[in-house]
Structure formats: C-alpha cells, structure tokens
C-alpha cells in the first residue's frame, strides 16, 4: 500500500540532532515554528531547514521501507491496515481503506472535510455498534482490536472522547467514574475502590480540568454545557488513563479559555509512552497540542500525511489544495 505512514521515515535524509535520538520524545520537545506555509514536500527537499524536526516529519508519499532502522527502536501502538467499514443499518461504505500507524509517544491529528469519515474512523476503532467493519485489520498493542468488545478495547488502553457525549440521567458522575475505574482495577487484579477511597483518588484530578466538586454529584452530562461535557470527557481520560486517547473534536464548541484548559489537561496527561489521535477542524487546537504528524482524510481514506505545516496549508487554501496536490 502506498500509504504506509512512517512519521520518521525520512529522518535519514538529514542527520537529526542528538536530542531526537530517543524516539519517545515528550511532545513539547517538538517545536513547529516554520515561518512560511508551503507545501511540505517542497520544504523537505528544497529547504534544508535548520529545524530538522520538521523536516524529519515531512510527508512520505511513497511506500517506504526506509524507516526500518528507526522503527526497530519504536514500538507501534496502533496499526491500521486497509480498514473498510459501512454504516450497519444502510450498508453505506464510509471507510474505504484507511492505513495508519501510531507509535508510542506520538501525537497524530486527522483533519478533513465534514463527512470525510474522521469521526467514523474513531468510532470504528472503539467498536461503535452503528458501524460494521468489512475489511482490513487493526492491531492495538499487538492484539487484534476488531475481535474485542468495546469494553475490552477500553480496558486494553484505548480511550475515545465523544464528540457529543450522551446524558445519563440518574447516574451521578462520580458513580459512573467509580464504576469505570473499578472495571479497570478488576482487570488488573487490584481491589476495587469504595466510594470514599475513590473520592480521595479523584478529588485532585478535578483541578486538572478546572471543575468544582459539585460536578461529581451531578448526573453524567445532564444539563452540562458544551464546555462542561468536553471537560468531563477529559476528566474521564485523566481518571482512567489510556495508552491511546482519541479526541474526537474535543475543541468544537469551546471558547478560548475552555480550549486552553482542555489542552492543558491533555498535555498534562501525556507521557513518553502514551499517544494521542486528535480529530479536528481547526488549527488552533494543534497550536496548543502539538502533533507529530497530521493526516488529511477524504472520502474514507487518508490522502495525505505531513507535519503541522499541513494545517497551515489547509487554513490558507482549503482542502481543495490538498486534494489537488
């Protein structure tokens, strides 16, 4: 397949600075500050940039086996190959062969027009019953993800923040979190936490998302504002932890302050080991959570992969520039 994506595949072209050697870089070490928005392909070839980070992440549009050397030192977390999926009810095909590899410690972003399949892709990964997988494979931490029930995927370390989380009247936030947290502890063979112990565990996490304690006693998402719902999703991520967090339009409907809070919380949760896949329409999120690479999705496929400069191209010229390229 032509779209085997290796974010560091072109690294050998330039000698990377020593700081890049450990592949599990903390994300903030990746600085994307290229002044001019240009086609990333141009940049990588014509501008021997003094910032090799950017260059090393530039688009690889040919099937690559070059990254072998680097790959051996990296652990793939999620490998998606030729994934196709349809809407369960209508059998309409939405995903038409998605390929994506995410290694430990990487931050990926998927952008794309409305209806290009971004959200479907994230829902398929977590096993949403509205979609049926018709082909391809998804390996998560060496295991076949498609064989797992949604709850098993979650327990395996996959987390998706919902774009529009549902209200659950009658179930308090803290009870819900306690249940989810205990499900994890059970899986790990650890004793479950009672309500009081759990309260002690969760209380410090509230600061992370800038929420008051009464937030815990309210029913899950019931009467929450858009911002509160997103914060609540991030709180769940903070409580449950995840090897791969899929943030589906975590930025939509947020004001500037709320976006900063959410981004700060996500950044605070990042470790060299865990990874993030963001789905977004806007560059502003990518400015606060710096991605390792950006993928452009169109008509159920990833049609382009590049560094953060891709977002700038998009902002300036729209998807049409990418499609045409």
């Amino acid at each position: 397949m032509a779209w085997q994506i290796q974010c560091t595949a072109s690294a050998p072209l330039i000698s990377p600075p020593p700081s890049l050697k450990p592949k599990c870089l903390p994300p903030h070490a990746l600085v994307f500050t290229l002044p001019v928005a240009r086609s990333s392909r141009f940049r990588s070839t014509h501008t021997p940039s003094p910032r090799p980070v950017a260059a090393s992440l530039s688009t690889v549009e040919s099937p690559t086996s070059a990254g072998g050397l680097d790959d051996s030192s990296k652990t793939p977390l999620l490998e998606v190959k030729g994934l196709t999926a349809v809407i369960a009810e209508t059998k309409q095909e939405i995903l038409k062969g998605v390929n994506l590899v995410i290694h430990q410690g990487e931050i990926h972003a998927i952008m794309g027009k409305n209806g290009s399949g971004k959200s479907t892709f994230s829902k398929v990964l977590v096993g949403h019953p509205d979609y049926e997988v018709t082909g391809g494979s998804v390996v998560f931490k060496g295991e076949n993800l498609l064989d797992m029930e949604p709850e098993e995927r979650s327990l395996a370390g996959l987390f998706m923040s919902f774009q529009a989380p549902v209200e659950i009247p009658g179930v308090s936030n803290i009870d819900f979190l306690n249940m989810a947290y205990n499900a994890r502890r059970k899986k790990l063979g650890e004793p479950e936490l009672g309500p009081l112990e759990f309260y002690a565990y969760i209380y410090p996490k509230l600061d992370l998302v800038n929420m008051k304690t009464d937030f815990l006693n309210r029913n899950v998402n019931e009467g929450f504002s858009g911002g509160e719902r997103k914060r609540n999703e991030i709180l769940q991520l903070a409580v449950l932890g995840a090897d791969l967090a899929i943030l589906d339009e975590i930025d939509s409907g947020l004001d500037v302050d709320a976006l900063r809070d959410v981004a700060k919380a996500v950044n605070g949760l990042l470790t060299p080991k865990n990874s993030v896949l963001m789905i977004t329409h806007y560059r502003r999120l990518l400015e606060v959570i710096k991605p390792t690479c950006i993928h452009i999705m169109e008509d159920g496929r990833i049609i382009k992969t590049g560094d953060s400069s891709l977002a700038e191209v998009l902002e300036e010229k729209g998807y049409i520039a990418i499609s045409a390229a």
Partner: protein, 485 residues
C-alpha cells in the same frame, strides 16, 4: 375466568350472619346511599356475590369479640352493607380491565384473627433512624413505640386507646366517608381489627416522620392454596396548619410467602396543612397486596406522595385525592418494578373542584420479566370551578424483556376552560447510545444495563424526603435487579 362465573343462583342469597344481630347505628347518610343504589344501580350490581358473602362471613368471624369503639363499629356496619351489593371484580369492570384478581379469588382466603404469639422476630436493633410502629398481620403492636418525643396534642396510636373525646369526634366525622371505594375498600372496612389514628393539632409541626411498618408473618407456601388476609387501617388527620411526614413500609417476614395484605390509609389535611407520604411496598413475590390511599385536602394544603413498589405477585395501589379548596397542591411520584411474574398496578384519581389547584404526577415503571405486567390508570379531573389549575402528568415505562407488558391509561378530564395541563407517556427499552457510553469506558454490558435500569427508578427514589429511607430503598432495588431471575 373464575371471577366471571357468577350465575343467577347467586341472586340475593343472604347468609344470616350478615344480617346484623348487634344493634346497628345507621346514619342518615348510609340510608341515602342505599336508596341511591337501589335507584341507579345496574341490575347486575344488585346481585349478591356468594363468594363475597362467604368472605364477609369469615371476616366477621375473625373480628375480636370485645366491643369496638363506635366509629369503628359504624365503619364495619357500613362496609358489610356495601359488601352485600358488591361483586368480586372481573375483567369486565373498567377499573379491573387489565388487572386479573382471580389469583386471590381462587385461593383459600383466611382472615387472620389474632396477631402471632411471639414477636421475637422483631429486631429493634435500630438500623432505622426512627422507631417504627409495627402492624403485625394487620394488628397494631405499639408497645415499642415511644410517644414521649411527640409534640403536645399529637396522638399516634390505636383508636381504642384514644382518651380524647374531641379527637374521637373529629375522627368519627370523617372515617370511611368515601363514595369511591370498591370491594377491597369495603373488605378492609369490615375486616380491620382496629384503627390506628394519627392526629396532628392545629399549627403543629411534627419534626420526625411517623414510620409505620406493616409486617406479614402468617403465610402459606406456594403449594398450599391458603392465603392469610390482613386488613390494617390507618387514619391521619392533620388540622389547620399542621405538618407531618408518614412513611409506610410493607414487608413479609422471611419465609412467609403467600398472604394477602389489604390495607387502607385515609388522610385528611386541614387548611394550609402539609403531609409528606412515603410508601414502600416490598412484599414477597408470591403475595397479594391491595392498598387504598384516600386523601382529602382543604384549601392551600399540600400532599406529597412518593411510592416505590417492588413486591407482590399482584399489587395494586388505588390513590384518590380530592381537593376541597382553592390553592391546593398535590404531588404524586411513583415507581413500580416487576422483576418477576408480577402485576404492579397504580390507579390514581385526582379531583380538582376549586380555583388555582396544582397537581404534578410522575409515574415510572420497569417490567424486567417476560410475564411481568404494569398497569397505570391515572385520572386527573379538572372540574368546572377549578379555573387556573396547573396540572401535569407524565408516565414513563421501561420494558426490558420480550413479552413484558404495560397497560397505560393516562387521562386528563378537563371541564374548566382556563387551565394549564400537560401529559405525556413514553414506553421504551434502554438507549443504545447510553449503553455504549458505559462500554466505551470499560464497563461491561450487564453492569451498564443494571446501572441504567437502576437510574431510571432513582429519579423517583431520590424524591423520598428522608435520606435513610432513600438509602434503604436504593439498596433493596439494587438487590432485586441483581438477583438472577
């Protein structure tokens, strides 16, 4: 249908027992009622049901031989009179269209004539915050109740021990004065061995709720057809400006399976008074449980009912609320749960006759068994003079198994023209999107379902006014939903 099998042989057969041998006190009102019946009753209603007569007979036999206070004697006389012309309800009667009572009729009904000898099973370990008043098999056992904490003038106890002439007179004026009763109302009126009175004088606020615990001890097992019957009866009178909370809890003693509790609660709330009524029905899943709650509210008074019913093979609650003055508020919040082969029935009627009345009703039920059935008939009557009424009614049902049944008849009858009324009914399964949300956080489907089902009822449970009651009910409902069926 056994309940339908009345033939003309039964026509006007009187057993001598029912022709009262004791001197009878007949008020004018009773006579009037009788004459109306003769005039307007359908030919069928004048038939006498042999089965009902036998039941009335055995009820009279079960009564204590000692003389009873006058109001109670009058209630019995009126009730036995009424039973003469009442038939066992059949599915042809509108109010029993969906509720099959043949299970009781086909049993060998034995009215309980005395409380059990030993009450050692009553554990007063005090896990409830308040001392309860216990009814054992319909008999008030108030030995353990400490009335010294009650405010002056409040009376809680048996009618026979009531020394105040004034209260006795007030109670007599109201007791049993109710034109809407059915067979079960009359059965209780005849069979109640005693009457418990709760009296709150004018302007008095009773801080702690009165906790009434009705325990059924005598009970047959599933195999035998024997069904012991108890008829506990309570009368609550709150004078002008008084306030009280009442908790009623119905349970069967462990090991006691088949029995029939036929309970009546009458409430009169004076002007500006307030009654918070919590009703918990946790009977054995083989028991029959019929309950009447009749409420009369004077102007600007408030009556709030929160009910959670989970037990009984057949359980029916008849609620009748009559607003007797303007600016009166009524709230009914009820939750019924069928986890087995059960029928849970709520028949409620709220009658508004005066301006600016307020009534809110929320009824929720869950049927979690393929042969479970929930019945709801909720009538709100906004009569001609009840202008500017604000009436709302909402019923939601959750059917969790194939063939689980719910029969719902919400009905608002509005005659006044300047009113705000709303109603709604919804029947559904659990939401897939909610289930998935749990799963996506690592919670398995079974746990998620239980949490969602529980949360459905929690909306009602959370309205119980006392946190210790809330907790107790939550634990009980959780346990029921968890136990394998």
């Amino acid at each position: 249908m056994a309940a339908l099998a009345f033939t003309h042989q039964n026509l006007l057969q009187f057993t001598p027992k029912l022709t009262p041998s004791k001197p009878k006190l007949k008020s004018k009102r009773t006579k009037t009622r009788l004459s109306i019946q003769t005039l307007t009753a359908s030919p069928q209603a004048s038939f006498t049901d042999q089965f009902v007569l036998q039941l009335a007979d055995s009820l009279e036999d079960s009564l204590p031989s000692s003389s009873s206070p006058l109001p109670l004697q009058k209630l019995r006389d009126d009730s036995s009179e009424a039973l003469l012309s009442t038939q066992w309800p059949s599915r042809k009667d509108e109010s029993f269209r969906f509720t099959d009572t043949s299970f009781i009729r086909n049993s060998n009904i034995k009215p309980i004539s005395h409380p059990p000898e030993s009450l050692s099973f009553l554990d007063d370990s005090g896990d409830t915050q308040f001392k309860s008043l216990n009814f054992i098999d319909g008999f008030l056992v108030d030995s353990s109740f400490d009335s010294s904490n009650l405010p002056d003038g409040v009376y809680v106890g048996s009618l026979s021990k009531l020394s105040s002439e004034g209260i006795l007179k007030r109670v007599s004026g109201f007791l049993g004065d109710f034109e809407w009763g059915d067979l079960f109302w009359s059965v209780n009126g005849l069979g109640a061995p005693d009457l418990m009175v709760i009296y709150v004088p004018e302007g008095c606020r009773v801080e702690n709720p009165i906790y009434l615990k009705y325990i059924s001890v005598e009970g047959g097992n599933e195999g035998s057809k024997k069904v012991p019957l108890s008829n506990p009866r309570v009368f609550v009178l709150v004078e002008k400006g008084g306030e009280i909370g009442i908790v009623e809890e119905f349970v069967g003693k462990e090991g006691s399976e088949c029995y029939w509790t036929n309970s009546v609660l009458e409430v009169v709330v004076g002007e500006g008074g307030k009654v918070k009524h919590s009703y918990l029905q946790k009977q054995s899943l083989s028991a029959a449980h019929i309950k009447w709650t009749s409420v009369r509210q004077e102007s600007t008074s408030t009556y709030e009912l929160v009910e959670v019913s989970t037990g009984g093979k057949l359980s029916r609650h008849n609620v009748h609320v009559q607003q007797l003055g303007s600016d009166t508020a009524t709230e009914l919040t009820t939750f019924h749960l069928c986890v087995g082969d059960q029928t849970q029935d709520l028949h409620s009627r709220i009658v508004l006759d005066h301006p600016r009345g307020y009534t809110q009703q929320l009824h929720k039920c869950i049927v979690a068994h393929s042969s479970g059935q929930a019945v709801f008939d909720g009538n709100v009557k906004v009569n001609r003079f009840a202008q500017q009424t604000d009436a709302g009614q909402l019923t939601r049902s959750l059917l969790l198994e194939p063939r689980a049944t719910v029969n719902i008849k919400p009905n608002l009858q509005i005659i006044a023209d300047d009113v705000k009324c709303s109603h709604g009914a919804a029947i559904s399964d659990l939401e897939d999107s909610q289930l998935f949300y749990f799963q996506a956080r690592g919670i398995d489907l079974e746990t998620a379902r239980k949490a969602l089902v529980f949360s459905f009822g929690a909306e009602v449970i959370d309205r119980l006014p006392y946190s210790f009651v809330q907790k107790q009910v939550k634990d009980h409902v959780k346990e029921l939903l968890q136990s394998p069926r």
